[in-house]
């Protein structure tokens, strides 16, 4: 069973637009929600993360919006650039428990110029 679900599977936006990637989860004990990105031929790397004490986390052009009631969180990439083209994975874990990090299926983002 997929505990973390991600959509869309692929997304194409124009340079300068805001890309929105979505995730949902099932386990209410999850307390850590990171986003990783992976460029072709490379390993996944942490982009940004949030803990549910807040409902928004910003880092430059990247923002996580978190909705605990609906068990959803999203990544917004403002002013998208061709260099942002990559596969993005959301994930979730219970840091106070097993620290097992569960990933979503991934969203392949293409930014066209």
């Amino acid at each position: 069973q997929q505990q973390v679900r991600q959509s869309p599977q692929s997304l194409t936006v124009w340079e300068g637009e805001t890309a929105i990637l979505n995730c949902s989860y099932e386990d209410s004990t999850f307390d850590y929600f990171p986003w990783y990105h992976q460029f072709p031929g490379e390993s996944p790397a942490l982009l940004i993360a949030i803990r549910p004490v807040s409902n928004k986390k910003e880092d430059g052009r990247f923002t996580i919006f978190f909705n605990k009631r609906e068990k959803k969180f999203s990544l917004h990439i403002a002013d998208s650039q061709p260099g942002d083209s990559a596969t993005y994975f959301c994930a979730a874990s219970n840091q106070g428990g097993s620290a097992k990090l569960i990933f979503g299926e991934g969203t392949k983002l293409t930014v066209s110029s």
Binding site: S98, A99, K100, I102, F103
Partner: protein
């Protein structure tokens, strides 16, 4: 800079073959993980460990064994490899609250089972 090194980077074997994937981390992290990456499935957790001698079952453990011999070294064993285990395997370290929960991934090991 966190460092996780995997070997071999590429491996081809036949059905029924015996494969060992190795991972070494020099980050002094307690947690180490083995994931497989397949298109449409993202990264799926096979096994993980929070210290030498410890092993925790992940979400897709069937057909895989793992052993954590030291804090630095974590091995993934496929004793009777099958074509369904053809995949890109990633090792990672980190994940506990002492280092903000971030995982540091190795370069990946591409396994092909014919």
């Amino acid at each position: 800079e966190a460092a996780v090194t995997q070997s071999p980077r590429n491996k081809v074997t036949v059905t029924g073959g015996n494969v060992t994937l190795s991972c070494r981390q020099t980050n002094s992290h307690n947690y180490m993980y083995w994931y497989r990456q397949d298109t449409g499935h993202g990264l799926r957790l096979i096994h993980y460990s929070y210290g030498a001698g410890n092993l925790q079952i992940g979400d897709v453990p069937d057909g895989y064994k793992a052993t954590r011999t030291t804090q630095e070294d974590f091995f993934l064993l496929l004793e009777l490899a099958s074509p369904s285990q053809t995949s890109l395997y990633f090792c990672a370290s980190g994940g506990d609250t002492s280092n903000t929960g971030q995982l540091y991934f190795g370069e990946g090991s591409k396994l092909t089972v014919l």
